[in-house]
């Protein structure tokens, strides 16, 4: 490769020299600077070395240096983030020279946003990964976190479903909590946002437009994150939005249109197959129930979803006021009929400076309005189960015309069969669940550089995050799903639904900090110090409403006791950081944060979270300086303690009395009383703490064309917030979230980035990240108790209250807890036969065992981008190894009992029934380890190709077209539709579509 590069270089020089010789002897240099994709680079500087003569490129990348004396010079062409190009030139008359800059590979000079400030990447001592716009996932990305899926070692971002705006499960270095939240803290432009879901929004983050985002900083280890002490145990993601840059206004317009399609149906019996099966295995009565149709119910409920996403932004600066204003409109139809999302977003960013740059103000205001229609996702399971021998429509008007199971098919006016599977299309089309959500996140940040002491800055940040949501669920009174309805006082039945919901959230933050930065040249030192205070309030108002029939009649007893509830919690913190650099080689960072939370008793309320880290720029040492191939080498070691208090109750430290609602009254005499119930409490509750150590090496080879980071971490979470049984008789709740338990996790992360080809014609870079991680619960009870099975988790469908996972001592989180299937000599599982693991002669819950976990052992991301002249192409692939999933679709629909059920109707079944022949009559069958399947996979997330047309209208404007395919293919042994299930329980979730995208970018 290197050879190739040099060859190109020589050719280029030769070409330049020839051109130079051809021109006459007067003085000017003109031309254009473009980037690796031949897009113009506005704001690049072209200077003549040894002089102050130079030019800055305009919006179209053009520069001009006039009045240059004839002669030989060296030009420097610079642009931040790109390798500076030095070019020898002989000026003789009007010289025209175009330059193409290539980006710095993993630029070590880049400035990275860290908590309360920024730092040069090369001075970092913690595990921080920065992802900027150019490395984001491409295509139709409707929610910000998906931009970095597969891009960062140690960070897994798994979309929860394929529904419009659906959220993701984000795990940084895996989860370390059991009952508390495992979600990382997300800070957008300095405003830490709440993780609580917004009613009416599929995902609170979907109200932030990904197109406004400039970069993500992922703080992975304690030394990086501990400055956010209280909420940092799960890592921190700092999101920075785009800002205005100096120069003339630039208008950017982007438009995407895409089509999404279902990738794969759940394999179920066809109409003919079920007729054959029922005739062979059913009773005469069951055979008589067969219909003559052959309906593919899954085909009925899915559609091709068309999405358009249009964004426009204007950015620039007037004198002292850089600005950026943007607007976006997303219109998305889901692949499940009746699901859609329309989102309008707007953002304003102003960053003026005053008093000769002594006061910098940053104002960010982001607003969004989303209108969403939620499909009844129960239709997905119904489409798997509904008898394919039945037609979609019944031919009469009942139930909106949809075919439904009746008590007596001979009486079309008779009652609906209770508990029967409902017509999937009817479920969708007869439910209108629409929400409207407004959210705004904003802040005003003032940074004052003291006049008398410029090294000292005072920074004040006032931020808010507010939302208001409301919605209606309307089901017509003909719908089968609400056929039962209710009786009013006169005994008249009212059916259908006309319900509403409403919520307001208001989170506010006030922060103030002082920062001090000073070079102490006499002792070859540099000091950075930060000390600050933070106050955060999180408040949600949930409005309560009764239950209404479609005709507006309120169901008796459902009128709420209280009009609303307003859960609230607060955090008050002080924090400080000291960063000391000695000889530009040794970096020592210490942070401490002291947090108070309103969720705990006054004497347990405060927690102190310290961290310390040391980094050694080994490359600066003489022994490494001579090794030319090695361009960078840094060792980092860090240790810190972080806290966690998210995801638990706000007021559980004392027992409060809750007044029951109007359908939970008790009759004494002739009066029904609402009931005062004392609640469970845990007065000793306090911070969950995670102590983590991190050892890492950052390296670069061959002028940093290959760079990488290898991190090892060890974490121990203690005082786990863990739902444990209470001694009976001592509390009002038999389970309570207490601080009992320990969990350790270890991991190895590798990030490798290579500029395989880097020249003016072709650039090709490849990024690989790999994560290996394990975790183990080491304590769950006060005193060790080997007989304690653990905390059940992972609820499954089928029956009531069944779970398939457990958290137990000595095993990984979310281990499956199942019976060991016995297989016959033909390799087929024997129906209802399980291993009596404890050998006591009976198979009961004492024979359940822990088998695999839904957490992966390793996961990988691979990205590649190639640019060739005006063409670009790339892909992102992700892989996950060692994760298992419980196939709930098989366990509930791949049995004979699913077809011949107790309800007395016929259902469809998964074709897996033909492999196992399971009758489904064993009560233990559902918990067979047969259903726990290897869900390792390789997924091609995205393949894209783009073409840059360059100038469009008389030297202005730039046009780029692109095409993407998202979710291209998946390679897996998993037998269900999609192995990527973060919860580990795969039960008919909204499938992730394959999406074909065409995009256009225009800048003027």
């Amino acid at each position: 490769m290197r050879k190739n590069y040099s060859k190109k270089y020589v050719l280029l020089c030769a070409f330049l020299m020839m051109s130079v010789m051809a021109f006459a002897q007067t003085g000017s240099i003109k031309g254009k600077v473009s980037d690796e994709t031949n897009q113009p680079l506005p704001g690049a500087t072209v200077t003549i070395d040894g002089t102050t003569i130079g030019s800055t490129t305009d919006v179209n990348g053009n520069y001009a240096i006039n009045n240059v004396k004839a002669g030989s010079y060296t030009l420097s062409i610079k642009f931040i983030g790109y390798v500076t190009l030095k070019q020898a030139v002989t000026v003789n008359g009007a010289t025209a020279l175009n330059f193409s800059l290539v980006p710095e590979s993993k630029s070590l000079n880049e400035v990275v946003v860290i908590g309360y400030g920024t730092q040069r990447k090369k001075d970092l001592s913690g595990a921080i990964t920065n992802v900027t716009a150019k490395d984001f996932q491409k295509g139709v990305i409707t929610t910000p976190e998906q931009l970095i899926a597969g891009k960062v070692a140690g960070v897994s971002v798994i979309s929860n479903s394929g529904a419009p705006g659906a959220g993701s499960t984000i795990r940084i270095r895996g989860g370390v909590s059991l009952s508390a939240s495992n979600d990382p803290l997300i800070v957008i432009d300095g405003v830490p946002i709440s993780n609580s879901s917004i009613s009416g929004a599929a995902n609170p983050l979907s109200l932030v437009n990904p197109n406004d985002i400039e970069s993500f900083s992922v703080l992975k280890d304690a030394s990086a994150a501990a400055i956010y002490g209280n909420r940092a145990s799960n890592g921190v993601i700092l999101i920075t939005t785009k800002k205005g840059k100096s120069g003339k206004p630039v208008i950017d317009f982007s438009s995407q249109v895409s089509a999404s399609k279902l990738t794969k149906e759940v394999p179920v019996f066809t109409g003919d197959q079920i007729r054959e099966y029922v005739k062979a295995n059913g009773t005469a009565a069951q055979i008589a129930q067969l219909g003559t149709a052959s309906t593919d119910w899954q085909k009925q409920i899915y559609q091709t979803g068309i999405t358009t996403d249009n964004n426009i932004s204007v950015s620039g600066a007037t004198k002292h006021l850089p600005y950026r204003v943007s607007a976006g409109y997303l219109d998305q139809d889901g692949i499940l009929k009746t699901s859609s999302l329309q989102r309008i977003t707007g953002a304003i960013n102003l960053s003026p400076t005053f008093f000769q740059d002594h006061l910098k103000a940053t104002l960010n205001v982001k607003g969004a309005q989303s209108k969403q229609r939620f499909a009844n996702e129960g239709a997905i399971g119904s489409a798997v189960s509904f008898d394919p021998t039945k037609p979609v429509y019944s031919g009469n008007n009942r139930f909106g015309g949809y075919y439904e199971w009746l008590n007596n098919p001979a009486q079309p006016g008779g009652g609906l069969k209770d508990l029967a599977t409902l017509n999937p299309l009817g479920l969708l089309e007869q439910q209108d669940n629409r929400s409207k959500v407004y959210r705004s996140i904003g802040n005003l940040q003032l940074d004052y550089k003291f006049h008398f002491l410029p090294e000292l800055h005072a920074n004040v940040n006032l931020g808010y995050d507010i939302s208001k949501s409301s919605g209606n669920v309307i089901i017509p009174d003909s719908a089968a799903s609400n056929y039962k309805g209710f009786l009013d006082a006169k005994g008249v039945t009212h059916r259908g639904l006309n319900n509403q919901y409403k919520q307001k959230q208001s989170n506010t933050i006030f922060e103030g900090y002082l920062s001090y930065a000073k070079d102490l040249k006499s002792i070859a030192s540099h000091i950075d110090a930060v000390a600050g205070y933070s106050y955060q309030d999180f408040s949600i108002t949930n409005y309560n409403f009764g239950n209404f029939a479609h005709d507006g009649t309120e169901q008796p007893g459902t009128q709420p006791v209280y009009p609303f509830d307003k859960p609230e919690n607060r955090l008050i913190s002080v924090y400080g950081r000291l960063n000391y650099v000695f000889m530009d080689k040794y970096i020592l960072t210490g942070t401490v944060r002291r947090d108070g939370s309103s969720k705990f008793n006054p004497d347990q309320r405060f927690g102190t979270f310290p961290s310390v880290a040391f980094a050694w720029k080994m490359k600066e040492e003489s022994m490494f300086k001579g090794i030319t191939a090695l361009s960078d080498l840094k060792l980092r070691v860090g240790y810190g303690v972080t806290g966690q208090q998210d995801g638990i109750g706000n007021y559980d430290v004392i027992s409060f009395y809750n007044l029951s609602n109007n359908t939970a009254q008790y009759q004494i005499g002739d009066t029904f009383y609402n009931l005062y119930r004392p609640g469970g409490y845990y007065s000793l509750r306090t911070w969950e703490q995670t102590a983590s150590s991190n050892i890492a090496v950052d390296f670069g080879f061959f002028d940093n064309r290959i760079t990488g980071t290898l991190d090892y971490y060890h974490r121990k979470t203690s005082k786990l917030l863990n739902q444990i049984p209470q001694p009976a008789g001592t509390n009002f709740s038999n389970y309570i979230v207490a601080n009992i338990g320990d969990l350790t996790s270890n991991g190895l992360e590798l990030n490798l980035s290579a500029d395989v080809i880097r020249n003016s014609d072709v650039t090709w870079n490849v990024n690989l990240n790999a994560t290996y991680t394990t975790n183990k619960i080491t304590k769950l009870t006060l005193a060790p108790d080997p007989s304690y099975p653990g905390v059940f988790t992972g609820g499954i469908s089928g029956g009531t209250g069944n779970t398939a996972q457990i958290n137990s001592v000595g095993y990984a989180r979310n281990s499956f807890y199942v019976y060991q299937q016995v297989y016959g000599s033909d390799g087929k599982p024997l129906d209802g036969v399980f291993v009596d693991r404890n050998g006591d002669g009976i198979v009961n819950s004492n024979d359940l065992y822990r088998y695999k976990s839904s957490d992966p052992k390793g996961y990988f991301g691979l990205s590649s981008n190639v640019n060739y002249h005006k063409w670009s192409a790339g892909f992102v692939a992700r892989a996950s190894v060692g994760n298992y999933a419980y196939n709930n679709v098989f366990s509930s629909s791949a049995t004979q009992l699913s077809i011949f059920n107790g309800i007395g109707i016929l259902n469809n079944a998964s074709t897996n029934l033909l492999e196992t022949g399971f009758t489904g009559t064993s009560d233990k069958g559902r918990l067979s380890d047969y259903f726990v399947q290897n869900a390792s996979f390789i997924r091609m997330d995205n393949v894209n190709v783009g073409y840059n047309f360059g100038k469009l209208f008389h030297n202005t404007g730039n046009l780029r077209l692109s095409a993407n395919v998202q979710n291209v293919f998946i390679i897996t042994k998993y037998k269900g539709v999609d192995p990527e299930v973060s919860s580990g329980i795969d039960n008919n979730f909204y499938p992730r579509p394959r999406t074909y995208v065409l995009g256009l970018n225009l800048s003027l």
């Binding site: 209280y562 509830d565 359908t663 939970a664 004494i668 038999n734 209250g801």
Partner: protein
């Protein structure tokens, strides 16, 4: 630099000052939930808390039908007292099978339950929950608390009667724990919440405690039939005493049939109760009208007291197959519960017996069970119906209005008869008369079903015919030594199609492993 350090100190002081002034801002209270001082500020508040002590055995939580459960670790719909107690008492016997495969549920009939069984754990915690609520209520109602809250006179007297009833409910739940689990942890109002780990009490000592409590509150409880509907009176306490004395030998090793005679006689003779005329109308939506026979009921209501347990369970779970849901006053059956032929065969001529207590549904049902999960295997039972005595509709088709008599006169008749027959010193003629009164109602004839003599074995069968599916069978079979033994078999007893005996330790359920873990004072029952 010096000037700067002053600045720093000033700023630091400001931050520190700001922080300390703000820590008060961390004191937040819930919007709607209140503290004990607010609840117990007047007699009206006392009544709402008192009502919860009762409601703890009717509801599953504080939001009907579900959504804010009292007991965790179990599906809320299955977490109420009567449904769980019913499963533990009926499913392991000849009276009931359930077709559902919820983990742990089939273990009842196959008699293979373990100490981590979810339903047993739920039941145990449900019983202890009502005890914990009762303890708290009793503590809140101490004389000191009443006077400090300015409650005196008639108001205070009312509350003292509430306390006696809370003690009754506590004794009742301890009697259930004594029967099922034997040796539970023991807490009273003297044990503070969150205090030291409760000590375990032996079955025998618990018997003594329950006995002494029921006797101690006798003076404070209301006279029979004089209290508000749904509240316990003296007769309820006597009826419970009669019940535990009948089983005293199982609980303590020493029979006390004479005491069983004494207390059942007290209920029968001084309670003023009479049998309602039609057995088939006992368990109906408006069976509060049957209070002449009912001594204490758990009250359910289709509009106001909604859950998926209790009588909603009893009216929905046995309906399936070709049964017409509307005839049961429900929108649709849950197709789970049936019975074995052993119960059917207790009635002469089985399902078509002249004994009207034989309330079986046979259409499309096989009397023999081949597969427990198949609803049509085994006769269904039609004893519980969410329709009114006159056939009118109940308030809701989804949640039952039926009230559950946990004590009714018929049981006291049978206790008197059995205790007398076992040598408890009662009047044999009266005993025979009581049984014949039940049979006269059953046959709707004073002569057709009339018996001339009683034997203990006949009385077990009579209990089966009269009290089936009311939550007594396991206790009865244990008292008759027919529960685990191979001498009496029924279909799928011990998991075998024709039935087989099981280990003798299964006459007691295990202490749930969850509590054994949480409370090291607890010693597991033998065999588990």
């Amino acid at each position: 630099m010096k000037r700067n350090s002053i600045k720093y100190i000033t700023v630091a002081a400001l931050i520190a000052g700001g922080l300390s002034s703000c820590t008060k801002k961390l004191d937040l209270l819930p919007t709607n939930d209140v503290t004990s001082a607010q609840v117990y500020k007047d007699t009206a508040g006392y009544k709402k808390a008192f009502a919860k002590v009762y409601a703890a055995y009717a509801l599953t939580g504080n939001s009907g039908p579900a959504g804010n459960g009292d007991v965790q670790g179990i599906d809320e719909g299955t977490s109420d007292f009567f449904r769980l107690m019913w499963c533990a008492q009926e499913l392991p016997t000849d009276e009931a099978v359930v077709g559902w495969g919820d983990v742990g549920l089939p273990d009842f009939h196959s008699m293979t339950w373990s100490s981590s069984n979810t339903f047993l754990t739920g039941l145990y915690y449900r019983c202890m929950y009502q005890i914990t609520l009762a303890n708290d209520f009793i503590r809140q109602s101490s004389d000191a608390n009443l006077s400090s809250r300015g409650i005196s006179g008639a108001g205070a007297d009312k509350i003292r009667q509430y306390v006696a009833e809370a003690r009754f409910l506590r004794a009742y739940q301890y009697s259930i724990l004594m029967d099922l689990f034997g040796n539970p942890p023991f807490v009273t109002e003297a044990d503070p919440l969150g205090g030291p780990l409760p000590k375990q009490i032996s079955r025998k000592d618990l018997f003594t405690y329950i006995e002494s409590e029921l006797k101690a509150i006798d003076g404070t409880l209301a006279a029979p039939k004089s209290n508000e509907y749904g509240r316990a009176d003296k007769a309820a306490a006597w009826a419970l005493l009669a019940r535990i004395y009948l089983n005293a030998e199982v609980y303590t090793g020493t029979a006390q049939y004479a005491n069983a005679v004494t207390y059942s006689k007290k209920v029968i003779e001084t309670g003023g109760y009479t049998l309602v005329s039609d057995y088939t109308k006992l368990m109906r939506a408006d069976n509060n009208l049957n209070k002449n026979e009912f001594i204490l009921t758990i009250n359910y209501d289709g509009l106001h007291t909604q859950s998926y347990g209790g009588m909603t369970f009893m009216t929905h779970a046995p309906v399936g197959g070709s049964m017409d849901a509307a005839a049961f006053g429900i929108a649709g059956g849950w197709a789970g519960l049936r019975t074995t032929k052993a119960l059917v065969n207790l009635f002469p001529d089985g399902a078509s017996s002249a004994d009207k207590r034989a309330q079986f549904y046979t259409d499309g049902q096989n009397i023999d069970i081949n597969t427990i999960s198949t609803f049509t295997d085994g006769y269904a039972i039609t004893k519980y119906k969410n329709i009114k005595i006159n056939g009118g509709a109940a308030q809701s088709k989804d949640y039952a209005d039926v009230d559950m008599p946990i004590f009714r006169l018929a049981e006291q008749y049978l206790i008197y008869a059995e205790a007398t027959t076992r040598g408890g010193g009662g009047d044999a003629t009266a005993a025979l008369g009581y049984v014949n009164a039940l049979r006269a109602r059953a046959y709707q004839s004073a002569t057709n079903g009339k018996l001339t003599a009683l034997t203990t074995d006949l009385l077990l069968d009579e209990r089966g015919r009269e009290l089936y599916w009311e939550g007594f069978r396991r206790t009865d079979l244990i008292r008759y030594k027919k529960f685990v033994e191979a001498t009496y078999l029924w279909p799928f007893k011990g998991g075998s199609k024709d039935g087989k005996g099981v280990e003798s330790f299964r006459t007691l359920y295990p202490i749930p492993s969850a509590d054994v873990t949480a409370n090291p004072n607890l010693k597991q029952n033998t065999g588990y």
